[in-house]
């Protein structure tokens, strides 16, 4: 976590240089996308909203360019503290490769379960997303959305625990298809995602359970542009309910995303993650993204 914050500071300090760079430098090949059109980093690292991937390729790298960003997110819920950090690179506005780590801090619940106060479950997610057709931003005279397909390889670091809770595996792979469309004349962005997953609670509680099948889940988000720099919106993400030990629900959030410049964005949300082992988990979601 600390090295990441240092890296973010370094990147932020570097940014004015990027904007001031003149012709014939490497920076001619960065930051060519319009503000906020690369989305923010989801809790799993992939570009999108806070909880659900979008079909956009993350970062501000346009066609013929590259881009990258790093982020840190905290979701402080009723019983837990979920921290996520990582980053992504976007190439040619076609390919996105992301990495993300999640720490699920059980706080007092860990003590109650005999795991110890603050027992923390870790997970790493490697993501790959490819834009396959359409253009979410410029194709304003058609209904055709931008469509992307993606894979998230997830590895839970607390295999013994999640298997004791009924999961069949400590690693799993999610597949998703996302469609995203900006209705610019209305200032409205709409996204829908279908995900095939075995993950329990994003993978924090492992993969598989009552059955070992892929479950098809729907995720959706809508964002309204108040200004070029400021968007508000809401998201929903359904999840499988595949562990006998505790019920799992859909997650929701309402968010505000603010990007004063292309190099920084802040997202604040009120999230309702549904029941996670003990009871319904609601709380504040805060995320900072730095990149180009």
């Amino acid at each position: 976590m600390k090295p990441l914050i240092r890296l973010m500071g370094l990147m932020a300090a570097f940014m004015p240089v990027v904007s001031a760079a003149h012709a014939e430098s490497v920076f001619d090949y960065t930051s060519g996308k319009l503000l906020l059109t690369g989305g923010v980093n989801t809790v799993e690292g992939t570009a999108g909203g806070g909880l659900t991937p979008w079909a956009v390729i993350g970062s501000y790298g346009e066609q013929g360019q590259f881009g990258a960003n790093v982020y840190a997110t905290d979701i402080n819920t009723t019983d837990y503290d979920i921290r996520s950090y990582g980053g992504l690179v976007g190439l040619d506005d076609r390919l996105e490769i992301s990495w993300s780590h999640q720490d699920f801090d059980t706080e007092a619940v860990g003590a109650a379960l005999g795991l110890g106060y603050g027992y923390t479950i870790g997970q790493d997610v490697l993501g790959v997303k490819v834009k396959v057709l359409g253009d979410a931003v410029l194709e304003q005279d058609t209904w055709l959305p931008q469509v992307a397909v993606g894979i998230q390889f997830k590895k839970n670091q607390n295999g013994a625990l999640v298997k004791a809770l009924g999961a069949r595996d400590d690693e799993g792979t999610d597949y998703y298809v996302s469609a995203t469309k900006l209705f610019l004349a209305k200032g409205l962005l709409v996204n829908g995602t279908i995900r095939a997953t075995k993950a329990n609670q994003f993978g924090i509680l492992g993969f598989g359970g009552i059955d070992d099948d892929y479950h098809y889940q729907f995720e959706g988000s809508a964002a309204y542009l108040l200004t070029r720099k400021l968007a508000i919106g809401a998201e929903v993400r359904t999840k499988p309910d595949n562990l006998a030990v505790a019920k799992e629900d859909a997650a929701f959030d309402v968010f505000v995303a603010y990007a004063p410049v292309k190099h920084i964005s802040v997202t604040l949300a009120y999230a309702d993650l549904g029941n996670i082992v003990t009871r319904r988990q609601t709380g504040l979601y805060a995320s900072l993204q730095v990149g180009f």
Binding site: L138, A185, A196
Partner: protein, 153 residues
Amino acid sequence: MKTVLIALALAVVATPALAAEPVKDSAAVAPVIAADDSLYREFGGHDGLVRLVDDFMLILLDDPRTRDFFVAAKQDHIKTMLVEQFCVVLNGGCTYTGKGMKESHAQLGIDRASFNALVEDLQKAMDKNDIPFHAQNKLLAALAPQHRDIVTN
């Protein structure tokens, strides 16, 4: 697993065909976006558009990302054509007398990043002229599909 991978591979292979653009030259204007001239009036009518386009050109010439496309061009002619084009799009009752977008941009080698840079400069010019955000987005939405004719690189 295997089917998903195959679907993914297929999707990637199929992309260039699906992304292929129609070869017609749009007459520089997308469909009219308002049934009356209310949006045209939000832009200040003819005088408002002249002021907007004057500012727009100054910003384009000041921007290292766009300067090279305009510095040696017939700036007054471009400004007149932009006023006509915006007026048509905003349902201001004008006629566009210029060339098609494809023809007029064919030799310029404009890429997506340069196109977006121009969009940002137009946004700056609209901000400077106090044009409301929702009205800005309606004009941009009408102009955005021109990227098919303008972006060649």
